[in-house]
Symmetry: C2
DNA sequence: GAAATAAGTTAGTATGCCCTAACTTTTACC
DNA sequence: GGTAAAAGTTAGGGCATACTAACTTATTTC
């Protein structure tokens, strides 16, 4: 009868499980900028059956991490967003630390971080960040959320969308596919690299790029995974 | 009907879960030197109900990790022992790395390692070990198993068992209780320290130690958690 | 060696997270 | 705006891991 005897249901006090953290990250990534995330999209990202997502999403909504409207997708609550960003910070600090302090190649940090992000304490993550000089981006150029939960949400243009003749600086590449990362490395399409779109063949044809003094040609599927900060240069943006 | 269609039951190929790894470590620790581990003792170490241990132990035996005789405890099989030592290596390398490379205080490495040991890949652990110069012991003096699964199993004397007048070098202290570790640190009872037993009061009374040029007095409960390598010195071992 | 105690097991239940199959709701299209 | 396709949910399981309560086996004690 006394309230003190009841299950103490302070939401957000108990540590989240690894699956829960991965759901929140996925939902954050899909709905970045407050959009809603669809069940099927979550399922695809996490390689789960849609039915599994329906179940989990309901539990997360009960815990106050999501706003869920049946048949209409989910959105992170403020509490869910904070949790997502905490995991994202862990993930990216760990990636940066592995690359910087332990010589991990950039194509293998993601997989390792995907597990460690659920096991590392805040203190460890903070020590890692301090040791490598508080980096602002991970090895793939993704911004690292701060401890207080803010993050740069600038939306960049993909190389696939950059106009012919335009130039940009590579700011970020997709981090999940090791083979793709190795290939980008070979082409030295790396964060910081300046690139100009020379031509684009029709019907999803190859995109020819000027990078340094070489000319390289990539498909649009690859180009779409490279984000650039456009530069206003001689060629302008007409295309 | 074809054997190839059957569930492929190659034992020891699928990665072990965190609980399983912790069971194996506990069983190894209890039965070090091939003794058997009792259900209640496993339960106590892992802070679980004995009934839970009965259940888990059966599954582990089915997987070939344990030899289990109902009502008579368990022993690690060769495969179980290998798995236990792999986890132990991870745990101890991680502890050493946290202390050495990230400035973690020795009283907090254990808890962090207890989680990371299940998430770190072999490659990460090997890189950590290489980075800090392939240490042979963790920060509490426990020997680090090698990659091929061998480990120094020397049994040391506890300070509680050292004869009055005898001296020894501290080789290892219990690693689980942070408060105890902080206290030992204050007393500078650390691995490498040379200590002489000056006197021992009866009825579990205090043990007086000479350490450096100071004299300190500790209870037998604490002394039992400090392992020493006895020195044959002037005082000898009579006591 | 029988009774008392300690140790260990089984039965039954819970929770988290996943699955497939069958159903319902939404949406897209003519 | 009715129907087909797509998207999403529910129903019904499975497995791993834990718990408590009740029972069984082993050990200790007199
Ligand atoms: Mn990543
Ligand atoms: Mn993850
Ligand atoms: Mn430890
Ligand atoms: Mn552990």
């Amino acid at each position: 009868m006394s309230a003190a005897r009841e299950e103490s249901r302070v939401p957000g006090r108990e540590p989240l499980t690894a699956p829960v953290e991965d759901y929140l990250k996925a939902i954050y990534a899909i709905g970045r900028g407050s959009g809603a995330a669809a069940t099927n999209e979550i399922a695809q990202r996490l390689a789960l059956a849609p039915a599994s997502v329906s179940g989990m999403v309901r539990r997360l909504a009960d815990q106050g991490l999501l706003a869920y409207e049946r048949y209409h997708g989910v959105k992170l609550t403020e509490s869910g967003r904070r949790a997502a960003l905490r995991t994202l910070r862990r993930h990216r600090v760990i990636e940066a630390y592995l690359a910087e302090a332990l010589g991990y190649p950039w194509d293998r940090v993601h997989e390792e971080a995907e597990r460690l992000e659920h096991a590392a304490s805040d203190e460890l993550v903070d020590r890692m960040a301090a040791t490598i000089g508080e980096p602002e981006v991970d090895p793939h150029g993704a911004p690292i959320p701060t401890k207080d939960g803010s993050v740069d949400e600038t939306e960049y243009t993909s190389l696939a969308d950059l106009a012919v003749g335009a130039s940009g600086v590579v700011v970020r590449v997709a981090d999940e596919d090791p083979e793709m990362l190795r290939y980008l490395g070979e082409l030295s399409i790396l964060p910081g690299k300046r690139i100009t779109v020379r031509s684009r063949a029709p019907y999803d044809g190859p995109i020819t790029l000027g990078s340094g003094r070489q000319e390289i040609s990539i498909g649009p599927a690859l180009a779409s995974h490279v984000l650039v900060a456009p530069l206003a240069d001689r060629a302008g943006k007409r295309g």
